[in-house]
Symmetry: C2
């Protein structure tokens, strides 16, 4: 019998989850929940119902895992605890500083419901976090670094678009090659924010707008751009839509460390992602962890878990004996 | 209280484990077991006793985890099951084809003793296996590739040294850059053995030996070299000792996969290691898993486990709350 998965929220991430479920033959999409009028929502999977989120409680026994596809700022802090009382859930809560608080809320709810809740699943937090953890455990005398990009930052793109005279815009975060090389050398450099990443902005200006002012406002924007070497390029709306409509992302986690009697030997561990679609990859990670949540619940576990708490074998649809035979 | 670790077998790996334990403040070396006369063994840690392996049973209650540092061909198939009856154990059994059989033997023994036995720990099998597993679970529609090197292959170096007229020799396995690039492109190429790796041999010939014959014998050696583009370079013994006395190794696990409604998006996940010392890095991985074996045993688990069965958090000395706060 398949694992019945529900999708709660049907934006970029929800659509990615829908696609990912199709790639996993042990899973099926049970239904999609939306805040909109369900009649207005067209989903890609034939024969699967769309319900208003108010109906979720009625689906309690028809869904094995509910995947929460809302945003970390406004949706997940309330949705995940609410839903964890009713379902095994997975979310991609990514406001790093607020994870411990979110965790406490979700843990209480999941324990109340006897369900497993996996939070902060994706690639960062997610696969990058796991790698930081494995690397640090294996090489205690060392230092790790995370670089992001080349990829589109939604938050920074939004910030550009809020500037007066900007019609549209897209921002790429780009890791600095020299910094990557310095890290890989094992020298454990201290790197400033400016040394690690640059920011590249493609901006479509309103007709007659003062481009010099727009460029200055971007480059001087505190938190977002002031601490970085930022490049601003003005392009036409056609160019923006033609060349910059994707949502690529990726990055690097690198740890270097020393071993040996006199710490004479250096080791470099590197994990990297190069993603054509940030939401679709995030969705793929989440769907693998949905399987894990289901298996852990079957074993009688409950409460809030993170990627640190999940043994790798839970993620796979392949029986353990085959994993050991073919992948170990 | 520290985790008391025993070392069983004091070769390159055992010495690496001894160094690695010092980097982990929650662990201490309890003793070293050897097949040799203990009086002849000098270890690096002051005040730690060396015993003959026959004494192991007497240390049953004084060791929390025993790390087996013998070889996969002759030592571990008997040593790991024997010791798993008495101790939580970790080994680095790496004869891939025989892992299921080894696993069955060790599982029966560990369950009999109520102990946790972690087998096939290191980097391949080990960290590479975990990465193959995570990558495959996250991107089911894709293909993964493992490349080894640049690094010293002990087995191939030994094969060279068995040839008549060879005084000494060292073999490096080198991944082919073009193959790596083809894999990273996402084209999922079919690669032959010859296309993936080359082999580079540094050979010290006996005086007056027929170098042309030695070179031919190496290049034509079945299994070891015949399927590869092999380069043979004759050097002096001084050069060999000066430039090739290290045991570096490493490699790459790369998976590319597709997502999206029409599989239009490609993703590349890459994990790589660049190691100055193969045995010391292997030892560092093993020591982290020794911590895991100890924690799992404390929780009441028993039997034979692999890296697939161990949740990442078990490897770390850092409390879960801090891991979540700092690494997630």
């Amino acid at each position: 019998m398949s694992i019945r998965v529900g999708i709660y929220g049907y934006g970029n991430l929800g659509r990615g989850v829908e696609c990912a479920i199709r790639q996993n033959s042990d899973m099926e999409l049970a239904c999609v929940f939306t805040r909109r009028d369900p009649a207005t929502l067209e989903i890609k999977t034939e024969g699967v119902p769309v319900y208003h989120i108010d109906k979720a409680v009625e689906m309690k026994d028809k869904i094995d895992v509910l995947i929460l596809c809302g945003g970390s700022a406004r949706d997940l802090p309330t949705q995940t605890p609410e839903m964890a009382k009713l379902f095994n859930v997975v979310d991609s809560f990514d406001t790093h500083a607020k994870i411990p608080c979110h965790m406490a809320n979700v843990d209480a709810a999941a324990k109340e419901g006897g369900k497993v809740a996996l939070i902060s699943v994706g690639w960062d937090p997610g696969m990058f976090s796991i790698n930081r953890m494995y690397m640090g455990a294996v090489l205690p005398c060392g230092k790790d670094y995370t670089f992001w990009g080349k990829g589109v930052s939604q938050g920074h793109s939004d910030a550009i678009r809020r500037i007066e005279g900007v019609k549209n815009g897209k921002q790429y975060t780009i890791p600095v090659d020299a910094a990557l090389e310095a890290v890989r050398s094992g020298s454990e450099p201290e790197l400033t924010t400016r040394e690690k990443h640059t920011r590249l902005c493609y901006v479509v200006a309103e007709e007659g707008a003062d481009k010099a002012r727009i460029e200055r406002e971007i480059k001087e924007m505190p938190n977002y751009f002031a601490d970085y070497d930022t490049t601003v390029e003005f392009i036409s709306e056609e160019e923006l839509l033609r060349d910059h409509s994707g949502i690529p992302h990726g990055g690097f986690v690198i740890r270097t460390g020393k071993t040996g009697e006199d710490l004479q030997n250096t080791h470099v561990i590197e994990y990297s992602l190069k993603l054509d679609s940030n939401p679709e990859f995030t969705a793929s990670v989440i769907v693998a962890y949905a399987r894990a949540a289901y298996k852990m619940h079957l074993e009688g576990q409950s409460g809030c878990k993170t990627v640190f708490d999940v043994a790798p074998a839970y993620l796979s649809a392949t029986p353990r004996e085959e994993l050991i035979k073919n992948l170990l």
